[in-house]
Assembly symmetry: C3
Amino acid sequence: MPHTEYLWFTTTERQQFVRITDQVRAIVGRSGIGDGMALVSAMHITAGVYVNDWEDGLIEDFQLWLEKLAPAGLLYRHHQTGEDNADAHLKRTVIGHQVLVPITDGTLDLGPWEQIFYAEFDGQRRKRVIVKVMGG
Amino acid sequence: MPHTEYLWFTTTERQQFVRITDQVRAIVGRSGIGDGMALVSAMHITAGVYVNDWEDGLIEDFQLWLEKLAPAGLLYRHHQTGEDNADAHLKRTVIGHQVLVPITDGTLDLGPWEQIFYAEFDGQRRKRVIVKVMGG
Amino acid sequence: MPHTEYLWFTTTERQQFVRITDQVRAIVGRSGIGDGMALVSAMHITAGVYVNDWEDGLIEDFQLWLEKLAPAGLLYRHHQTGEDNADAHLKRTVIGHQVLVPITDGTLDLGPWEQIFYAEFDGQRRKRVIVKVMGG
């Protein structure tokens, strides 16, 4: 049977990227699944999950780049509902909302620089990521 | 064994987003799989599948934003083959071509605002999405 | 049990897209898995895997478009570490770093034009893609 856990986040900043490789690895350990895949998927539509480098400069590059591609503060139609976070929906679309992490020999089968990140674009409130592990 | 069904679409507009959460939920119900994942993947390369908000203003924001990132009507090299839809290939790349929906306790394990959409960028003809459910 | 193989690439160009549909199909054949899914995922964070058209003009369109969205040669913060490839991290984020290919009746269940590509953005050195096949 698959093994499921949820990670909760309340970021201190509205936009904040959090490395979660270790939490995902621990969940895979608890699952007892030695070969398979772990789905790591944001359950809120203004946050994402992605795999890339654990380097502060690059993380800043990502954030500046996403601001250029999907700026805050434009006259989005979504804001006529009272919301102010349309850009967060767009940014999470670029970064991706889920990843599937391979598991081999009882642990995450990642390349040398692959790290899993939670990307929050409208934070400072409780939000959730599902981790579901499948395999044998 | 996995359970597979196909969804067919012939949109009335060339570009049109269609909510498919209910169809995917029904397929998962028919699969008899209570814990696992459902792959929902566009089988044509000018359409996508994504998870985001069911709000008309935001859907318009998405479409205007994709038009800005990947405009129609440019002198694309792909058009030398007689095609006129290079922008549709690019737009579907931004929005994503597939999602993996977790299944827990016999139904879709989605966050409060997560909805699954089919994003058509070159429609008005019959196109297909595969839904494949795996688990136990 | 899942079946896992790795594909190795050393591209001749720094940026190069390589069609890998046939290699993935062969791995699925060797897996003996007749119904399920194959995860195809880049293990390096400056490369991606995507599904789209096998047409040289469109591939050039993709590369020019990614250069516009995430240009090389800007003053990225990541380059203060001595790196010069921040744009490659961003480009791979747009194109996507993994795909999940459905398998039905013993082979890849792809639409008429779907082809799997490895997208290298910082090549000319040995890099790896994992292919993990699951199902029954």
